[in-house]
């Protein structure tokens, strides 16, 4: 049991940071982290012994987040899974603050798959391989999503919102 504390506790600050970046709400973020820790402790004995604990924890947290978003959108109206990919964070309204080019508002308006790639790599300092493990996708897909995320963020910084790209010439 001491092993769990020794390996998981150092990751809690980063799990809180990622949760906040996904949700942009302190209370909701800590709820997500709490659920993540509960799940992790319960599943501890079943994880791969030689696996990367950080990637394992982030994977749990992200999957819980996705389930939450899915439940929320199902509660609204019926949407297909492709539509869900395009649904930005519901709290994000990039039109509302076009004046302030807040990078957090920018990432909130990205599709989740791009948002998570950018956060895991740029903020959490994960390697491309580690991010691929968290997201359950090949490294090549990580690279192409990262490329699209950065392109949209450049557009966002340039125009104040990232829906419409303007090529910098």
């Amino acid at each position: 049991m001491d092993e769990i504390a020794r390996l998981i506790e150092p990751q809690i600050p980063a799990l809180r940071r990622y949760a906040f970046a996904l949700l942009r709400d302190r209370e909701a973020a800590d709820d997500l982290v709490q659920d993540t820790l509960e799940r992790a402790v319960a599943a501890w004995s079943g994880r791969h012994r030689d696996g990367d604990v950080r990637a394992w924890l982030f994977k749990i947290e992200r999957n819980l987040f996705l389930r939450m978003v899915q439940r929320r959108s199902r509660a609204g109206r019926e949407v297909g899974s492709e539509a869900l990919e395009q649904v930005p964070d519901p709290c994000a309204d990039p039109e509302a603050d076009t004046g302030v080019k807040d990078v957090l508002a920018g990432i909130a308006a990205l599709p989740e798959e791009q948002r998570s790639v950018l956060l895991l790599i740029a903020v959490e300092d994960m390697s491309y391989a580690e991010a691929a493990e968290v997201l359950g996708i090949p490294v090549g897909t990580v690279m192409s999503r990262l490329s699209r995320a950065r392109e949209r963020m450049r557009g966002f910084i340039e125009t104040g919102r990232n829906g419409f790209l303007r090529r910098v010439k």
């Binding site: 049991m1 769990i4 504390a5 998981i8 506790e9 809690i12 600050p13 980063a14 809180r16 940071r17 906040f20 970046a21 800590d30 709820d31 982290v33 709490q34 659920d35 820790l37 509960e38 799940r39 402790v41 319960a42 501890w44 004995s45 807040d102 990078v103 957090l104 920018g106 990432i107 950018l118 956060l119 790599i121 740029a122 903020v123 390697s127 491309y128 690279m143 990262l146 490329s147 950065r150 963020m153 450049r154 910084i157 910098v168 010439k169």
Partner: protein, 269 residues
Amino acid sequence: MSGATPRPIDEDDLLALVDGRLDPARRAFVEKWLGSHPEEAARVAADRDVRRRLREQLASIADEPIPERLRLTNFIPLRPEPVASRWPIAAAAAISLVIGGAGGWAGHAAMQAKPILERSGAGSATRDAVAAFRTFTAEVLHPVEVKADQEPHLIQWLSKRLGQPVLVPDLGAEGFHLMGGRVLPAGNTLAALLMYDDDQGTRLTLYSRVGAADGRSSFRYAREGDVAAFSWVEGGLSFVVTARIDEARLLRTAGTIDAQLRARTNATP
């Protein structure tokens, strides 16, 4: 091959440069190339700026001390306790809170004024247990699937479905009598729900499901509206006792259940 022309610069190089993930030789090559490609150089500068601003804006959260409710000690069973002090520390603290708050319902009111307490214990087992409580205690005709008059069959059935010996605690000392029980889905596992009532018709449920960590935890309190719950982990099972009664009585009941569970565990090594 050292004299060969390096492979052409591609998108992955520009991404990896921003993230500091190029080896020194490649990085020098890419940076030199950017010197004669201002458009790509401006793009890399913009990407680095986004990366820096994201990190700055999010840095403060990771520097904060970990909030109390996210301390791992809340989730991990405490070190094995001596038999004499088996009652969990959190339970003792909860009792003193109730008693200290001028007793009984005055104490209950004091607890209600602290919404953080309501959230702090609400794990997924607790949420599922409270949902099951609301669903089935409201049933007039079919509150349970197997009634108490078939208790041996009930125990056998639940134990078989959960793959663990299920104990049906005797809560007569708390005024509660078994009504019966049922099996419920719980994610990819199963849960058992036992229902009790007292002479006033007040119903109480004991929810248990497999898949928890080994060992034992302290009691965690959660409240959702008028429903109160205490949850804990014992021997690989999560337990949640739920009722519309005051915390002190509910906690006593949880203690009684826990004591009977441990007596059973100790008796059958």
